[in-house]
């Protein structure tokens, strides 16, 4: 059995299928959660009939509806770029999961420069969004795409700087290494070793910066200036329909899971949980990580249904005058503590 699993191609297929299953079903679950949680937060019920009970099949029904729609492209659009843009976004979203460890061995690829790869690949989606905005031959799309680019570049910086602090503290860029560093006991009470995730070990500021920047990277409320319906119709998504819109839509929710997974891995201890021995990591790990992801995704949804949208200048000011200096300060403090202790 284990020999069979050792084959390179078998492993590759298993990993690809596994990641796609987790990401795409996860995205559907998050869409459903968004519909239901949002409804209840607004004293509504939300989807109710689809699927017979609690409207559980609503995301599937929506997906089927989108698939049936005509795949339209505007007359002046740059067809090739226009058609390819959604796949760039989707690809960068799914590629994030290559390095996210679901267990000590349940990882697509345990790269030594995992954190670096993560930040590089997740910022590829900006390219897709710019492509979509530029090639749509529509003023709203162009405005939305440029706003998205400005916003994503502004918030990429605090995101990277927040991750740098974690890398400094862990002393490794490998995500498995970061999780293992958090699973190391910090102190012991009466023979019981206590391991603390980095968010408690002094990274609370970094975690806050990371989550704010992550919500901005997702361009969700309160940072959804690129899509601002009331002024830009739907931003860079204006001209898209059918399967390509579905790609963007699924990609948005998948990257919500992706960024939550990164945050859970870097700050909340990843697949490790107190009380679960290392030997069980491969079995309990995915559950623990998914639970942490679910909590973070809930917070992101919760924020969306509560807070109003920031104006463009407020949004930029928050990034450049608050988050980046604070992230730099955070790196400095973490480095000092790392050297002193």
């Amino acid at each position: 059995m284990m020999d069979f699993l050792d084959g390179f191609w078998i492993q590759l297929i298993l990993k690809v299928v596994g990641i796609l299953l987790v990401v795409l079903t996860g995205a559907l679950v998050v869409i459903y959660a968004e519909l239901k949680i949002g409804s209840h937060m607004q004293s509504r019920i939300g989807p109710y009939y689809a699927g017979g009970r609690y409207g559980w099949a609503q995301p599937l029904a929506d997906g089927l509806k989108f698939l049936q729609k005509e795949d339209l492209a505007p007359d002046g659009a740059d067809r090739a770029v226009y058609g390819f843009a959604p796949y760039v976004v989707m690809m960068s979203t799914i590629a994030v999961f290559v390095v996210v460890p679901f267990g000590p061995d349940l990882v697509g690829s345990n790269l030594d420069i995992g954190a670096f790869y993560l930040l590089a690949i997740s910022s590829l989606s900006v390219l897709g969004i710019l492509m979509a905005g530029w090639s749509s031959a529509n003023k709203y799309s162009l405005m939305g795409g440029l706003r998205a680019a400005a916003q994503l570049i502004a918030y990429e910086l605090p995101l990277v700087l927040a991750v740098v602090a974690v890398v400094v503290q862990a002393g490794t860029m490998s995500l498995n290494g970061i999780v293992e560093a958090q699973a190391q006991p910090v102190f012991s009470i009466g023979g019981f070793d206590v391991a603390l995730p980095y968010v408690i070990q002094g990274q609370i500021l970094g975690f806050g910066i990371f989550m704010i920047a992550a919500v901005a990277e997702l361009s969700r409320i309160p940072f959804d200036m690129p899509i601002a319906e009331s002024e830009l119709t739907m931003g860079y998504l204006t001209e898209y329909s059918g399967i390509r819109f579905t790609m963007f839509f699924l990609g948005e929710y998948a990257s919500m899971i992706g960024l939550s997974a990164i945050a859970a891995t870097l700050y909340l201890g990843g697949y490790a949980a107190p009380g679960i021995p290392e030997s069980l990591g491969n079995f309990a790990g995915p559950g623990v990580l998914l639970l942490k992801i679910a909590v973070l995704v809930f917070v992101i949804i919760w924020i969306r249904w509560t807070w109003p949208r920031l104006r463009e200048d407020q949004l930029q000011r928050l990034a450049w005058t608050w988050l980046i200096p604070l992230a730099l300060l955070n790196i400095g403090l973490v480095s000092i503590f790392k050297v002193v202790f």
Binding site: H40, S43, R44, W302, W307
Partner: protein, 156 residues
């Protein structure tokens, strides 16, 4: 230099707490086809017509902001009520239609009717497959009369 915003965190926190509380409350939703909503007193569902009270004065048709009331009538000679008296002319209603595809439920016609010929009924289930069927004629409007609730008691 723009004006600095006030310290935002208490407000943001209050907002988060409010939505969290609301999420765990039962949503005040009536699941319409299965459950029926209980109409409030004086609900504006449909306008009913009491033909006997109508004097074809046309006030309602003239006041209607949408011009959705169509009235036609003619005069009839009434025999004198006492022998030797003078015969009277009495207006008789031929047509009284309300086009509910135009009606905006403002209730001005009910308000202006000097003889209480028009009444609000709380019934609201009269949607139709085609627009023409939303033109309710005299008979249809009279049928709604049975559903008109008793007027609320007068305040002493």
């Amino acid at each position: 230099m723009t004006k600095r915003i006030a310290f935002p965190f208490p407000g943001l926190g209050q907002g988060m707490w409010l939505t969290l509380k609301t999420m765990f409350k039962k949503a005040p939703v009536t699941m319409y086809p299965q459950e029926q909503e209980i109409p409030v007193p004086r609900a504006r569902g449909v306008i009913s017509l009491d033909v006997d009270n109508c004097t074809v004065c046309m006030l309602c048709a003239r006041e209607c902001p949408d011009w959705c009331i169509y009235i036609e009538g003619h005069k009839e000679e009434q025999p004198p009520s006492k022998p030797g008296g003078r015969p009277r002319a009495r207006a008789t209603l031929d047509r009284f239609d309300i086009d509910y595809s135009l009606c905006m439920y403002c209730g001005i016609c009910v308000e202006v009717c000097p003889f209480d010929a028009l009444h609000w009924s709380p019934e609201y289930e009269y949607s139709e497959d085609n627009v023409e069927s939303l033109l309710h004629d005299k008979d249809r409007l009279t049928e709604w009369l049975a559903t008109v609730p008793e007027p609320p008691a007068l305040e002493s």
